[in-house]
C-alpha cells in the first residue's frame, strides 16, 4: 500500500494506464542490481531510484577520477578520490530516501557474483569490459535473473534484454574471445541515453510488461541519430544457455 507521500511523489507515473498503484507496488518490492557504476550505471541508478525501485544494489571497485566527470553524473569534483559506490549511495539516498541503496565495493568475479546477484529481480549492466559481462551473464542465466545489457563507444551504443531460457545470452554472441570495443572514447550523453533505455526495460520487466528488446538488439548511432533494431537468435550450442549445455552439466 502506497502512503500519501508516495502517491504524490509518483503521481506522474501512477497516472500512466497499465502502470498505476499496482505497478508502483511492484517497483517498491523489487531489488535491482547495477553492475558497474560508470557512465551507464550512474544514469540507470538515478532513474531507477527516482522511479521508486525498493532496493538498488550498486557494485563497483573504482574511485572517482577527474576523467570520469564528463559522463558519470553522480560524481562531482568534490568527490574525486572517493569510492564511487559510497558517493553514489549518498546522492541516490538524497534523491529518494525511501529507496534502500546498498553499496558494494568489489570487483565482480566468478567467486562472488552469485552471492551479489542472489535475490535480484533484474541485473542492469553498467560494466566496461567483456570479461566481467560474461561472468555476470553466466550467473544471471544460471539464477534465471533477467540481465539488461548495454554498451557504448564514442557516439554509438547497443542494448539487449536477456531473459534466461527465452532469449540469446551474451555468450551466444561472444563466448570467450576478447573483442575490440573498449577504451575508444565516450561522449557522456551516449551512456546516459542507453542507460535510460536499460532503466525503461528494467521497469517494464518489473511491472510485468514485455521488455521491448528481449531477443532484439538495438543499435544507436549518434552521428546520424539513427536507431536500428535487429532480431537476434540463440546459439544452440552456447556453452552457457543452450539446453544441451544444461543437460551436459546435469549429467
Amino acid at each position: 500500500m502506497l502512503d500519501r507521500s508516495e502517491l504524490i511523489r509518483y503521481n506522474r507515473q501512477l497516472a500512466i494506464p497499465d502502470f498505476g498503484e499496482e505497478g508502483q507496488e511492484k517497483l517498491k518490492s523489487s531489488h535491482v542490481i547495477i553492475a558497474g557504476m560508470g557512465g551507464l550505471g550512474c544514469a540507470s541508478a538515478t532513474y531507477l531510484t527516482a522511479a521508486g525501485v525498493g532496493r538498488v544494489t550498486i557494485v563497483d571497485f573504482d574511485s572517482v577520477e577527474l576523467s570520469d566527470l564528463n559522463r558519470q553524473i553522480l560524481y562531482w569534483e568534490e568527490d574525486i578520490g572517493e569510492k564511487k559506490v559510497v558517493v553514489a549511495q549518498r546522492k541516490l539516498s538524497k534523491l529518494n530516501p525511501a529507496v534502500e541503496i546498498i553499496p558494494i565495493f568489489a570487483k565482480l568475479t566468478e567467486e562472488n557474483v552469485f552471492s551479489i546477484i542472489d535475490g535480484a529481480r533484474v541485473v542492469v549492466d553498467g560494466l566496461d569490459n567483456l570479461a566481467t559481462r560474461l561472468v555476470v551473464n553466466s550467473a544471471c542465466v544460471k539464477h534465471k535473473i533477467p540481465y539488461v545489457y548495454g554498451g557504448v563507444s564514442r557516439l554509438r551504443g547497443m542494448l539487449t534484454t536477456i531473459i534466461p531460457g527465452k532469449t540469446p545470452c551474451l555468450a551466444c554472441v561472444y563466448p570467450k574471445r576478447s573483442q575490440r570495443g573498449g577504451g575508444l572514447g565516450i561522449l557522456g550523453v551516449v551512456p546516459a541515453l542507453i542507460a535510460n533505455l536499460q532503466a525503461l526495460e528494467t521497469i517494464k520487466l518489473i511491472i510485468g510488461h514485455s521488455p521491448s528488446l528481449a531477443g532484439r538488439l538495438l543499435l544507436f548511432n549518434g552521428e546520424e541519430l539513427g536507431f536500428r533494431v535487429y532480431g537476434i537468435n540463440k546459439n544452440e550450442s552456447c556453452e552457457v544457455c543452450s539446453q544441451a549445455s544444461g543437460l551436459e552439466k546435469a549429467q
Binding site: G36, L130, G151, V152, R156, Y174, Q179, N233, N235, E236
Partner: protein
C-alpha cells in the same frame, strides 16, 4: 568476381571465386538479418552473388547494396569517412584490412576469404 557469403554467428564470411560449390550447412547466425529474406540462402546457408570490380571496397559496397534492396540497413562503409564503419571489423584472410597494402583498395584474388564482423560495444 563471384562470391559466396556465409553468415556465421556474428559475421559474414565471404569466399572470393570459390572453387566448387560452397555448402556450409544450415544457418547458424545469431542475427537473422544476415540472411535477409532470400529463401535459397536461408535453405543453403550461403548467399551467392556477382560483384563488379576486384577490390575490397567494391565487394563491401555491393554487398551493402544487395542488402539495401531488401530494406536491410547494412553499411560496412561509412559514407562520411568513405572508410570502414566503426561498427564493423573487416579481415582479409584473417588480417585486418588496415594492415593489408592498399587497404580497401586491395585487389581480391581467387580463394581469398573476407570476414565482416559486427563490433559489439563494451565500454560503460
Amino acid at each position: 568476381m563471384r562470391v559466396a557469403i556465409v553468415p556465421r554467428m556474428v559475421e559474414l564470411r565471404v569466399m572470393v571465386n570459390p572453387t566448387g560449390e560452397v555448402t556450409w550447412g544450415p544457418p547458424s547466425a545469431i542475427s537473422p538479418w544476415m540472411y535477409a529474406p532470400w529463401r535459397d540462402a536461408q535453405r543453403k546457408g550461403v548467399i551467392e552473388m556477382e560483384v563488379e570490380g576486384e577490390t575490397l571496397r567494391a565487394l563491401l559496397t555491393q554487398v551493402s547494396d544487395r542488402y539495401k534492396q531488401v530494406n536491410v540497413d547494412f553499411d560496412p562503409i561509412d559514407p562520411r569517412t568513405n572508410d570502414v564503419d566503426f561498427d564493423y571489423d573487416v579481415l582479409i584472410n584473417g588480417k585486418n584490412y588496415e594492415v593489408v597494402p592498399y587497404g580497401l583498395g586491395v585487389k581480391l584474388t581467387d580463394g581469398d576469404e573476407v570476414q565482416i564482423k559486427m563490433v559489439w560495444r563494451w565500454d560503460g
